[in-house]
């Protein structure tokens, strides 16, 4: 009987590494290993002629065939195309992500048999477009994405499980405030959560989608390259292969510097070679500004949650980059608390995702939930309107950031002209009042409005924002007595037929009803 149930699988699709976890027969989450025997699969794709190779081997290939390797594609999600042309082709970043997901699926299948239902995690700070793209990547890889959840939330769930909060007996009566500091390979997230019994409530979230261990690596690359340049008058960063090789060396040196006080980087370029010694102090000085950015964001999000450090019960560290001693030292100094690194830094997110998948699957079978998650939105959502006073384009916010989800918000706008027959609703995400400083998510248009509406007729825009961070828009024109649910035409998003085409190409599966 246990063998027939659908496995609850969670995927942490990271910038530099990905992990897959499932719930075992007893409901305990455990990470699965890939075909190479590792719990973490490098999120790196090598386009090798007709072959697409993902993982460790692709990572190794950076040192010799960098131009054919796509790394850190998660950073480009939300853009139209990956920043690098691979074998003369431009790939959408979500397609590269789909190749990674496909590899994760194939490897996991060896151990748990075929499965398709998964929960995928995204940084809390991912915006609507990026979430949609991640969901698309899941579809192209042949998955049915049950839900998209935030990485810090998943980590907190894993932590809660480990602490025994998820059992009736183990649940705490006292609400606990947990600040999750998640410094991964490519993204940084801070989330303040309240764990009340079996409820996981996000109070505030903030982050930086372009800050992670990768940036620390690049600083090491710079130190090494400049030292090399001084010695040999060549810059290894100019040559993609030398740069790729150097990056791998530096990445390894970074790990060494977490346990030792100095490390050596070997660099070969144009027949010259050098062994460059870097001390931990040197490294910490060179990356101080990066660490400061995380410190600033951490303090900000605590403020946004309306809390003080004295209210925080746990300072939970997640993500591989928290192994750097400087992170602990900074947080200790900032918070006056001892950071808690008791969850598996690299696996907690995937474990939490699998717990969430288990919850959804159980709910579908009519079982009561064992825990609940309440989320907030990470970015303010609004529409572009024209300021009647200045005549300039302005961002009219409907859902301010850190609003608990799900939420439906309404705001009334007015038509501009007499007999206006259509309205273009431009949806933007961001905190700035100026529309141009915000991210355009997409637009929807309302056509065939009733004739002869006077100028300044009210038009209600309703946003319905789901806990998974996906948006639905409705427009109501009160006079017209008409409700229009509109499809958002997203910026930089792949059309359904493209998604189907890629799906066929990547995993050989036929299209399904997917929106």
């Amino acid at each position: 009987m246990t063998r027939e149930t659908i496995p609850a699988v969670g995927i942490d699709l990271g910038t530099t590494f990905s992990a897959v976890a499932k719930l075992d027969e007893r409901g305990l989450p455990l990470t699965l290993v890939n075909a190479e025997g590792d719990h973490l699969t490098p999120s790196v794709v090598l386009f090798d002629g007709d072959d697409v190779i993902v993982g460790k081997e692709a990572l190794k290939a950076i040192a010799v065939e960098a131009p054919r390797v796509a790394e850190c594609s998660k950073r480009d999600v939300g853009h139209r195309a990956f920043h690098k042309t691979l074998q003369g082709k431009k790939y959408p970043p979500e397609v590269i992500e789909a190749f990674i997901l496909d590899k994760l699926r194939r490897d996991a299948q060896l151990q748990i048999g075929p499965f398709s239902k998964v929960v995928i995690t995204v940084p809390a700070y991912f915006d609507e477009v990026r979430r949609k793209a991640t969901q698309d990547a899941g579809y192209m890889a042949g998955f049915e994405v049950l839900d998209i959840i935030n990485e810090p939330t998943a980590a907190a769930v894993a932590f809660g499980f480990q602490q025994g909060y998820l059992n009736e007996e183990g649940s705490t009566s006292e609400p606990q405030h947990v600040l999750v500091y998640d410094l991964g390979g490519g993204t940084f997230d801070v989330t303040v959560m309240e764990i009340r019994g079996t409820e996981f409530i996000a109070l505030a979230t903030d982050g930086d989608v372009r800050l992670g261990g990768y940036d620390w690596d690049q600083r090491l690359v710079d130190i090494a390259a400049e030292s090399f340049l001084r010695r040999h008058k060549f810059d290894p960063r100019e040559d993609p292969i030398a740069a790729g090789k150097l990056w791998r060396e530096c990445e390894d040196a970074k790990r060494t510097l977490s346990v030792r006080s100095k490390a050596a980087v070997a660099c070969d370029h144009k027949g010259c070679s050098a062994r460059i010694e870097i001390t931990r102090r040197q490294f910490e000085e060179a990356t101080l500004d990066l660490l400061d950015r995380t410190r600033f964001t951490t303090a900000q999000s605590l403020k946004a949650a309306g809390l003080d450090w004295s209210d925080i019960d746990r300072l939970l560290l997640v993500g591989g980059s928290i192994r750097m001693p400087m992170v602990h030292a900074m947080l200790r100094q900032l918070s006056g608390k001892e950071p808690d690194a008791s969850v598996a830094a690299d696996e907690a997110v995937a474990l939490g995702a699998s717990l969430h998948a288990g919850l959804i699957l159980a709910q579908r079978q009519g079982n009561p939930p064992t825990f609940t998650i309440k989320n907030v939105n990470s970015h303010s959502l609004g529409v572009v309107g024209v300021d009647p006073l200045t005549g300039r384009r302005r961002n009219g916010t409907l859902i301010p950031r850190n609003t608990p989800l799900p939420v439906t918000a309404k705001r009334t706008f007015k038509t501009r002209k007499e007999n206006q027959r259509s309205i273009l609703v431009e949806i933007v995400e961001g905190e700035s009042p100026s529309a141009d400083d915000c991210t355009r998510i997409g637009k929807c248009s309302v056509r065939r409005l009733p004739e002869n509406m006077p100028a300044q007729s009210p038009v209600d825009v309703l946003f319905h924002y789901e806990p998974n961070g996906r948006l639905k828009v409705r427009v109501i024109v009160p006079g017209a007595d008409r409700q229009i649910a509109t499809e958002i035409v997203r910026e930089n998003s792949l059309a359904k037929e493209h998604l189907d085409g890629w799906r066929k190409f990547i995993c050989g599966l036929e299209p399904t009803e997917y929106r």
């Binding site: 009987m1 246990t2 063998r3 075992d24 027969e25 007893r26 305990l28 455990l30 290993v33 075909a35 190479e36 025997g37 719990h39 090798d48 072959d51 190779i53 993982g55 460790k56 081997e57 190794k60 010799v64 060896l110 151990q111 790990r255 346990v259 192994r323």
Partner: protein, 673 residues
Amino acid sequence: MTREIPIGIDLGTTFSAVSYIDHAGHTLVIRNAEGEILTPSVVLFGENEVIVGKEARNAAAVQPDLVAQWVKRDMGSPFYTRPIHGQKLPPEVIQGCILRKLKLDIQRTLGRVDRVVVTVPAYFDEIRRKGTADAAEMAGLKILDIVNEPTAAALAFGETLGYLSPTGAPQKEMTIFAYDLGGGTFDATLLKLAPGDIRTLATDGDVMLGGHDWDLRLADFAADAFQKQHGLDPRKNPAAMNRTLAAAVEAKHTLSARVRASLRVEMAGRASEVQITREQLEEMTADLLERTSYTTRQLLAAAGLEWKDIDRLLLVGGSTRMPMVVNALRRMSGLEPDHTVNPDEAVARGAALYAGYLLAKESGDVRKAAFEITNVNSHSLGVEGIDPDTLRKKNFVLIPRNTSLPAKATERFSTKMEGQRSIVLRVLEGESTIPGECTAIGRTAIRDLPAGLIKGWPIDVTFEYGSNGRLSVHAVVPGTSHEAKLDLERDSGMTREGIEQWKRSVGEAAGFNSFESMLQDVLGINIPLAPSIENPEASPLRAPTDGRSAGATECSGPGVRAYDSAPLDDSPAEKLSPIPPCKPGASALRTFAAKPQSLAGAAPLWEEAEHIPVENTVEFAPEKPNGKPPSAGMSLSRVLFNAIGFAVFSAFGLALGYAILHYIMPDKFKWPW
């Protein structure tokens, strides 16, 4: 609660792993200080520290002479293949260093270290098992038991499928074939899983076959290519060879995912980029794979089974990731190889489960010890005697291999001569009928037999082999009160003092500081020496003649294998077989504390028994030392030849050099004539 935490250690040839069972009953793998699940089984004996793991492996490319790796393959030999810091180290000591590092990681993760289960290849013989237990002892680990790797893997597999509880989901029996190809050893084991019952049917293997051999082939291939291109052989330079080997390992991994790879060989400022395809690798290692196939077929035949009787073909060990392995097994068996357990972790997890089982049994918690494990012995056990037909020495097997444990067997032997006063019992392990081809694992003697016993007097020998791998040998001379008992316990093979000495050296206290004291002991002069071996002349037990003294002098060094010879000291030498000197490079001969009991006043029964006599003469099965004895010196003609050759070539070289210089700078270097 002071619940003892079940801990399992997979001490592998190339990598080691540790697992434990948490309070929820979940098996978890312990990460080392470097954050990794697998710790390379490599030891660097640095100038003032001993480093184990990744860093040590990286150092192999720069300081190859200070690095010890693949030590597990040398288990059973007196010393590691090559001296470190000029010092010959017993492999147990190096393994002890690895275990010591694992112990620190356990300590760091769990806050304490309880008793552990350590795994060994099923095909490890008694001496190698004993050595593994000694290594743990030296590392300050308390051994709960030693368990076979495939059994552990099967436990991990059984847990996943719910076989470890009688109420587990599957109720039907399942026969599984565990194909365990690790870094250095190969094991094939047939097991039967029934709910709550795990039974080993038969086991076979090869302790000298593993992924490392594949690496060596690849490295050879690359070295040949380099030699062709540059005329230099990287195999001659240990650092270059280690770098080439590291590149070969990477290339092997690449070839599991891709169809071609390249590996870079660098030496003396030159480099070759060697291309290799998966097909090439498969061709050049086909014979290695064939060896595993052969063993696999042999095992099935031994168990009287066919492929259609096998339900699952379980893959264990990192080397089973090679597509050639999976394909060959698929072809041979018609079964789809099973990837359910993680080949790297399954053994450690299973060992932890086994530890949990033993602890539960110990505390009488029947609910938790709800499964039974039955093992078999991997090698036949017997005694050396003389065949009455051929009058040659023969290995008389009492417990054949693949016998379910515990097992007990009794056999009657008889004395060889009239008036024989003592009997020597040599315990052998191995399949051959020729004692010289078997491993002598123990020895005992019955002495001071009543005078005047007739020829052919019976001697009953009983072997009792416990499921924990402990063999006790009991010999009784009916009609007399003479008997001998020999307990081949894993915790008493190496002399107590030897282990204690090394244990102090490897370091008992917490912290790496104690490694320094170890270094002093290991690499300094403070090496414990066993008097009886150190000075062969002083030993009353040394063979009086027959030119084996060369072998005996070779044995000087750390006396960790000193024989507990005291009780035999006062015995008449001509009545006793000499204790064989240890063979350099060969499997160590270890005798165990023999306690011959001499009881006077026995009433002899004059009865004839027609049985094979146990030899009591000084004649001895010829030892075949593996290592060559040190050559006594070159023959005179050869020395002369070399000297003349040297002189001629030196003169020629000098002349040539002078000539060249003369042509370059004619003014400064005038012709001397």
